[in-house]
Symmetry: C2
Subunit: 495 residues, 2 copies
């Protein structure tokens, strides 16, 4: 029986009538090569056969009496798989807009705290015979499960996965009594020294109401993290300017998705000597600039973005936890020229890198192992934490870049065409841009508050428009360089 950490419990406490504590993803599948239909029974059989490998999927929260301590995870003796796996269709024609409308309604709903904290939706009726699988998993849970376990449940690298019968039959352990939980000793406040971390964990929960007073405890919280995980790289010293998406959020969401070829992004990156991350930041800055300008809401100074970055090094690759830290950096929304904007992004991230000895590698570049859900959760976790204390370390939005495999993957025998992330927004931070790399493609998922950014699909499209501008600039530069290079060669040839 595992107890939630203070931070896990804080994720639960963060949920309000407006904000939810889960992350999601949309997988787009092509079932055309399958011999059997990809229906609810198929997805259920697949998940059922794999549940034994992921015990957290059959555990639910058990509160300690009177809330005297953090909750525990206990086996759900009434586990009901049908509750967790659902189906829904898209009306004709099954457009991308209809898909994102459907998903953001599902994403806006909190998970039921009385059951294991995950749901999977099979969404049929997508254009061109495609189907989608939307999955949502609570942070507090995903943190307990390893990313590898979670992946084994849904994604394969083979088109003919085995749906074995549950190798470990589910024999739920009886739910502990209230007395047993109290006796667990975790709350023996009278008999042992006060646990500073637990107190700190509690303070995280009440931090938003405490404001400035929480500073020393926030420092305490930061101090307890070591090995770079969760550390904050501060490259922006200014407070973020005001924008329409930095206020109290509503209970409703908008989701925008778009995608770009990684080869295009790489062409831009190589031509201008930047990184893939820099290109992502530059097109985000360009899209935001365009959107804000149209509303007459473009601040004179740059926006400030929080960027979760991986600090995992080779020696940690096989260890379970991902190492994630956060970078707070200015986003050059004040620069109108796309190329100048890209170079400014590069300068900023260079500065951030030199500010820390352990250089955070670009999240797409050079990361080959495949663990998007966990990484995404970690990234969002940092967002949560910093959202909590955003008065101390504020940013206008989160831009997160999650790596993925270059090889073709499958889900339940269907070709996985793309995975779009559906992340988290918070009071004060009503916009999140997360990028998921997969099979030579960058898939953008933009989650926003419904009222703050009603046209987030437009913002998603602007990202691609901005990339097109950079591709054109790169082509021009390549042509110029070739002319420039060939001219001397010609000269030497004629010499």
């Amino acid at each position: 029986m595992r107890q939630l950490s203070g931070m896990d419990a804080a994720f639960l406490s963060l949920e309000t009538s407006n904000s939810t504590g889960h992350v999601g993803s949309i997988s787009i599948l092509d079932p055309s090569g399958m011999s059997e239909p990809f229906d609810l029974a198929h997805l259920t059989a697949m998940l059922e056969g794999r549940l034994g490998k992921i015990p957290m999927f059959r555990r639910r929260l058990k509160d300690v009496p009177l809330g005297l301590d953090h909750p525990f995870w206990v086996d759900d003796v009434d586990f009901d798989l049908e509750f967790h796996i659902r189906e829904v269709g898209l009306p004709a024609p099954g457009s991308q807009k209809q898909l994102t409308d459907q998903v953001c309604r599902l994403h806006a709903r909190p998970l039921d705290r009385k059951r294991p904290l995950w749901e999977v939706y099979l969404i049929s009726g997508l254009e061109h015979g495609k189907i989608a699988v939307y999955m949502k998993v609570h942070h507090a849970m995903i943190d307990g499960a390893s990313g590898v376990e979670l992946l084994n449940v849904l994604i394969d690298l083979s088109p003919n996965p085995e749906f074995k019968d549950d190798p470990i039959p589910f024999r739920p352990r009886k739910e502990p009594s209230a007395r047993a939980l109290l006796a667990k000793g975790a709350i023996g406040l009278a008999s042992r020294p006060v646990d500073a971390l637990r107190i700190a964990g509690t303070l995280v929960r009440v931090a938003p109401t405490l404001g400035k007073a929480v500073t020393p405890f926030a420092q305490l919280l930061r101090r307890r993290r070591n090995s770079g995980d969760g550390e904050i790289i501060q490259t922006a010293n200014n407070r973020p300017p005001e924008t329409p998406f930095n206020g109290q959020i509503s209970a409703h969401r908008r989701l925008g998705i778009s995608h770009a070829a990684l080869s295009d992004v790489r062409k831009v990156k190589s031509t201008f000597g930047t990184s893939v991350n820099d290109v992502v930041l530059a097109i985000s800055a360009g899209a935001l600039r365009r959107w804000l300008d149209q509303r007459g809401a473009l601040p004179a100074e740059p926006l400030i973005t929080m960027i979760p970055v991986s600090v995992r090094d080779e020696s940690q690759r096989s260890s379970m936890g991902n190492k994630v830290s956060a970078m707070f950096t200015p986003l050059p929304t004040n620069i109108s020229d796309p190329v100048k904007r890209l170079l400014a992004c590069n300068q900023t991230t260079q500065a951030a890198k030199s500010a820390q000895a352990a250089i955070p590698p670009g999240l797409v570049d050079g990361v080959t192992n495949f663990a998007p859900p966990l990484l995404m959760a970690r990234a969002a976790r940092v967002a949560f934490e910093t959202g909590l204390i955003y008065r101390l370390y504020p940013s206008n939005l989160v831009i997160s870049n999650v790596p993925g495999p270059d090889v073709q993957a499958y889900m339940g025998g269907a070709k996985l065409e793309a995975i779009y992330p559906v992340s988290v927004i918070l009071d004060g931070q009503g916009l999140n841009i997360t990028v998921q790399g997969y099979r030579g493609q960058l898939n953008f998922g933009l989650l926003a508050d419904r009222e703050m950014v009603p046209d987030v699909d437009r913002l998603a499209a602007y990202l691609i428009d901005e990339l097109d501008l950079l591709i054109a600039a790169a082509d021009k530069k390549i042509a110029a360089d070739t002319t420039h290079k060939s001219t001397p060669r010609k000269k030497s040839a004629t010499a």
Copy 2:
């Protein structure tokens, strides 16, 4: 600016994390005769053109500061029609089970208190080219709107309805200030005598925690109702027996639907000299008996059901409010023979009728005007009230019979084939059977707690099985009577 009554406000206060305060309906439509597609744009255009006729659809709640008084209805200056009209599809094959699964997930979700309290879902992909429209409306709102207004929005008696542009352009009145609400005088507690009704209204909200102590106030509440509306006809003096569906409900629902030909029901009714209501009660008792018996949970004594009944008389027909009272009556689940069960139902309702001078007419028989949503809301309202005080007037379930027109109706130009009610369940009363009459058909909608009655669709099917038994018994009796009658005639012929 209209203020909510104490009872309206009580409906809002009744909503918990497990129970919701709205009623719903599923309309099954056949769009095959239409010249244009019945899509989201079509439904939106229809509703948009009619919103002016139903002001409540653009009003939202406005709380009085510090909760000092009941909320007010104010124009929603940010009214966003797109939020209220949504679409979703059913995956293939679009079965009835897939429809009810989808609807009960939608029905389990509370309405957003910050917006006008209604939602409409266009559900496509139903078998045989049909579509469904699911509508949910909060009680607190439906009570303010007249049933006629509400009907005009969605249902027509002509296949070519006019979708006129909103005849009354929406010019929302500015939201009143907190000061204005306080100045409204409604909370001048110090300056005027304490309002007994308001105090009673407040007590209704806390009644479940007060238990027995609330009795005198419950009496006060009942005393304030006159003209039969809301009065309770008590024909059962026993406490209801224990059944699996009388406990604390969860946040999740199951929905079962089935339908029967009114001609079949009438044949049974006429053959055995009972009413349509009696037949509905008898088949409900039979289905419940069967379901409980299978679980080894059939009580020796009859269940007790609450039946909302209309007490409207001819002089009130043109007045707006429907007159609804409630009958608490034993349901002969202890009788195994279907015909004896039917006759027992008849005796019980006869007893109830003689217990009250104003005889409650059968809700299907003789009621010709068409106001199902309002009637349904009223019925559920009585269920709410009595649910609140169910320790005083307890019942095992609600069985409600709602009238409808005999003529063909239309929605947005599509043929209306059936309307299934989706009602309300409460703590202590986790099952509701509501019957909606329409065009020679009885449509049953059974709403249950997901965990208490996971197979509510089976219960819905048992209703029809039980009706079949009664039809067979009626045929047998008719045949016997004919033989009996013809024998003497033959005799007299030979005499």
